[in-house]
């Protein structure tokens, strides 16, 4: 597995743009088109904001983001935090067919992560949550 970039910053919203710049630069260097780059950024933002909001429950902690290229030419984005055990995939998806008064405000982020990537995996390793976004190069 070929590591393209790695960044470790406090898990705070003010670092979002810095992390996103790194992710989109990797995607650009791998030759993804602008539309796919926006989709990758979006999946990344949703996963990160979830960690900023819930992982450390008011305490401080870091988030590490590693971009890799695997043997099958897939972009692998690993997002690692040391917060509360959490599985993104356990969050209930919103019903996208109901009308506005019944439509729930939450849950959209996780739904978008799943829709915009080719695979999402969550695992707990020791004290760490490791979320992996997998994007095929097509």
């Amino acid at each position: 597995m070929n590591v393209l970039s790695t960044i470790k910053v406090p898990a705070k919203l003010e670092y979002l743009h810095r992390i996103m710049d790194g992710i989109s630069q990797c995607a650009r260097e791998l030759g993804f088109d602008q539309k796919r780059i926006s989709e990758i950024e979006l999946a990344g933002e949703e996963a990160l904001v979830n960690i900023f909001n819930y992982a450390y429950q008011g305490n401080v902690g870091d988030v590490e983001v590693i971009c890799k290229l695997d043997r099958n030419e897939r972009l692998i984005i690993e997002i690692i935090d040391s917060g509360t055990p959490f599985n993104l995939l356990s969050i209930e998806e919103p019903d996208t067919t109901v009308d506005i008064s019944e439509r729930r405000i939450g849950g959209l982020g996780v739904f978008l992560v799943k829709k915009l990537t080719d695979d999402v995996q969550c695992r707990r390793e020791g004290e760490k949550n490791i979320l992996t976004l997998i994007i095929n190069k097509k």
């Binding site: 919203l13 003010e14 979002l16 743009h17 539309k35 926006s38 989709e39 950024e41 979006l42 933002e45 949703e46 904001v49 900023f52 996208t96 067919t97 109901v98 009308d99 506005i100 008064s101 439509r103 405000i105 939450g106 959209l108 982020g109 739904f111 978008l112 829709k115």
Partner: protein, 110 residues
């Protein structure tokens, strides 16, 4: 993100540029909330210069649309393109909001 508001008759036309993400969306929500508190009830949101929207942006749109519905207001959208259009589609927003190709087409409905 830049937010420009202009008024045509009783309609507030709000143009939003660049990115509506978790960092920038609060600015949009505040502008909208201020306008509604001042008594504005009819909105046309022009997204033709918006390149990116995340769930933070979608949530805020949903919150505002629900508030306006409760106050007998109206909110229309126009000019969605690229990833923004795609995100609206996969989130099912085309079936819950009034979305038009262009500002002109939306204004004809008001």
């Amino acid at each position: 993100m830049e937010i420009n508001v202009r008024k045509e008759k009783n309609i507030s036309i709000v143009s939003v540029t660049e990115r509506m993400d978790a960092v920038t969306t609060p600015e949009f929500e505040k502008s909208m909330s201020d306008l509604i508190s001042k008594g504005e009830k009819t909105f046309l949101i022009n997204f033709s210069a918006l390149d990116y929207i995340s769930s933070a942006g979608l949530r805020s749109i949903l919150t505002i649309a629900k508030r306006l519905k409760g106050e007998n207001g109206e909110i229309l959208f126009s000019g969605l393109k690229g990833t923004v259009e795609e995100v609206f589609k996969i989130s099912g927003f085309y079936s819950i909001l009034k979305i038009f190709e262009s500002e002109e087409a939306a204004l004809l409905k008001l």
